[in-house]
Structure formats: structure tokens, C-alpha cells
């Protein structure tokens, strides 16, 4: 009997949300593990400047929120789904260094507690989503920050674009790892085309979720949004009193 399985959660062949062990060879996994360790060490030292009595709890909650939302696979094509990666979301809300740590913690909890994402692949997963994804989203967000500061519409548009880019770039990072040390089973061209195409669609979903979340935070606590902080337009960020001053 030939049955194409429909549900990918429990079974002998278990699908995970992130790279399993064995998709890239051991040396490649080790190299990206090392890159992840170095990147996270830098992030820890740089994150301190962005953490205080108010932003530390915010960052803890943002991490838990990303964990929660990553569980929600949304349909993109018949038989295929996608889920939030969260890079742009954390970069906008808590900054790129703290944000990298947020995503790395989510990936570590998933791998160590929920058997989601291989242990030897954890480094590559961290590089793709916690480092490359976060900074891709952050780069776009910074480029669009003048727009984001113009009001809630600009902020939401910035979040959408940054999230779309972070998804696609993180997906392409896997393609690079596959090119370097892929275990085989599909041609590089196929992997590139499918990863790109699927993650443009997933990126639209990521953009919608990120825009909605950032927009919701902006409507109640714009002072907690890292991207809006800074000295140039203090009135925009001066907290609750001016929150409603932004056009929606």
C-alpha cells in the first residue's frame, strides 16, 4: 500500500521546522557551529548596551512570543506551509544583538526540549536565522527607518519589508550551506529555486505577522520599540502621551 502521508508531526519520519542532523556533512556543521559560537559571543557583549530594567523583560517576552508564533504553520501552497522565523521582528523590537540572542534561545529550546532542529545542525540553524536572518531584517529596517519614524503606517510597512527580506535571506543561507557541504539528494539548482520560491511566499506571511505585531506594540508602547529609539526625533518616541499622535 502506498500512502502519501499528510500529517508531518508524529510518525516514523518526523518533520521538524528547522534543519535536521545529516542534511549537511559533519565538517560543514562544525564550521557553522563555530561561526554560531563566535557570533553569539559578540552578540552577548554588544547586547548589554541595549538591556536595562525595562528592555530586559521586554526581550524575554519577545523571545517567548517568537517561540509561540513559530509553532503556527500557515498554509502557503497545497501541501506546504511556512512559519515565522522572527529575525526582523526581534531586530525591530529589541535590536539586532539582543534579537540574535532571542532567536538563538528559541532554537536552543526547540532543539534541546522539543527535538526540533538537529543538535549538530543547531549551529547552522543559529547562523541562518539568529545571525543572518536578524541582521538582514535589521539592515532593511535601518534603511527604511526614516519611513518608520513618519508614523504607524510607515513603521508597519518597514516591518513587512524587513521581514520578507529576512525570510528570503535566511533561506538562501541554507542554500549556501548545502552548496558547501550538502549531503545530496537534490541538485543545487533545484534547492535554490525551491527555497527561494517557497520563502518568498513564506516571507509574505512573515511580513504580515511582523507588521501586525510591531503595529500592535506601537499602538500601546512605542517607547519599547528599539528601532524608534534614538536622539533624532525624541518626540516620536516619548512614550504613551504621543502614541496616538501618529497617524494610523
Amino acid at each position: 500500500m502506498l500512502v502519501v502521508r499528510e500529517v508531518g508531526v508524529v510518525g516514523d519520519i518526523v518533520l521538524a521546522m528547522h534543519m535536521s542532523d545529516g542534511l549537511v556533512n559533519a565538517p560543514t556543521a562544525a564550521v557553522f557551529g563555530l561561526v554560531a559560537v563566535i557570533g553569539l559571543a559578540v552578540a552577548v557583549s554588544r547586547a548589554r548596551a541595549d538591556l536595562d530594567d525595562r528592555t530586559a523583560p521586554m526581550a524575554g517576552l519577545v523571545t517567548a512570543f517568537v517561540f509561540a508564533v513559530q509553532m503556527i504553520n500557515f498554509p502557503i501552497l497545497p501541501g506546504a506551509s511556512g512559519h515565522l522565523l522572527g529575525g526582523a521582528l526581534v531586530a525591530i523590537l529589541v535590536g539586532p544583538w539582543v534579537g540574535s540572542l532571542c532567536i538563538a534561545i528559541v532554537l536552543a529550546v526547540q532543539a534541546l526540549l522539543f527535538a526540533d532542529g538537529g543538535l549538530t545542525a543547531l549551529g547552522a540553524n543559529i547562523v541562518n536565522m539568529a545571525l543572518i536572518g536578524v541582521f538582514a531584517g535589521y539592515t532593511v529596517a535601518i534603511a527604511l527607518r526614516p519611513l518608520a519614524r513618519r508614523g504607524r503606517g510607515g513603521l508597519v510597512a518597514t516591518a513587512f519589508v524587513a521581514a520578507l527580506v529576512n525570510t528570503v535571506v535566511a533561506a538562501l543561507a541554507f542554500v549556501i550551506e548545502y552548496a558547501i557541504g550538502g549531503a545530496g539528494g537534490a541538485s543545487l539548482g533545484t534547492v535554490f529555486t525551491l527555497m527561494l520560491g517557497l520563502h518568498v511566499l513564506i516571507g509574505i506571511g512573515e511580513g504580515v505577522i511582523t507588521a501586525a505585531t510591531v503595529g500592535a506594540v506601537a499602538s500601546v508602547r512605542p517607547d519599547l520599540i528599539h528601532l524608534l529609539r534614538g536622539s533624532t526625533t525624541p518626540l516620536q518616541i516619548r512614550g504613551p502621551a504621543t502614541a496616538e499622535g501618529n497617524p494610523s
Partner: protein, 123 residues
């Protein structure tokens, strides 16, 4: 060092609300998640079909996923977002995950935070 302008009570209310949203997403919305493979899994399964055999499910054809090895902790009590392998426990698994994550992340960030500096000057 001065009292925060947006009062800490306001912050506490916002943070509690944020946590409740995360718990609802993981604990309830998770039941409505698509069961289909995500983007990466769709790519790694390209070229294969999942077939039922006497030895369990196998991948027929040629695809990247055939190289994937079992997860090191595949037998752990929370593996694959089910509590002890129970059916329909994804919500409970999600709530546990949210609580573990907020404690681990919140604890780390609290330890790393700057102390003794004016933390609420909006800078």
C-alpha cells in the same frame, strides 16, 4: 536612577498582556497550525514520497531528507511538541515551551542588563 516615566506598573501590565498573548498562541492557536511540511521540509522532501511499509514509514525516491538522521533526543518527553507522545497535547507542550523560554531568556537578559545606570532616559 529616577523613577521610569512610563510607570513600572504600566510596563508590568503590558508585559503580562504580552505573555498572555504568547500563551494563547502556543496553547490554543497551535491546534489550528497547518500540518503540512514547512518550506525547508518541502525542499528536503522534493523527489520523495512517504510510503507505509511493514517496517514503518519510508521515503521512496531520491531526496535530501533521506540523509536526515533521527534526532538525538527523539525519545524525550516533549519531543515534537507532544507531551509524552500523547495526542492533542500540542497546546500543553506549547505552554511549557513559552514558560521555559521566558524564564531562560528573561533570566539571561536580566543578568546581562546594565545596572546602576540611568536605564529609563529613553536612550
Amino acid at each position: 536612577m529616577t523613577a521610569p516615566a512610563p510607570s513600572s506598573r504600566r510596563s508590568a501590565g503590558f508585559f503580562v498582556g504580552f505573555l498572555v498573548v504568547a500563551l494563547l498562541v502556543a496553547g490554543a492557536l497551535s491546534y489550528f497550525a497547518s500540518p503540512h511540511p514547512d518550506g525547508l521540509d518541502t525542499v528536503t522532501l522534493e523527489g520523495c514520497q512517504v510510503v507505509e511499509t511493514n517496517a514503518g514509514e519510508q521515503l521512496a525516491g531520491t531526496c535530501i531528507a533521506q540523509n536526515a538522521t533521527d534526532h538525538t533526543i527523539a525519545g524525550s518527553p516533549l519531543a515534537h511538541y507532544a507531551v509524552a507522545g500523547g495526542a492533542a497535547t500540542v497546546g500543553l507542550a506549547g505552554v511549557i515551551g513559552v514558560l521555559v523560554t521566558v524564564v531562560v531568556a528573561g533570566g539571561l537578559f536580566w543578568v546581562l542588563r546594565r545596572r546602576g545606570t540611568p536605564g529609563d532616559d529613553h536612550q
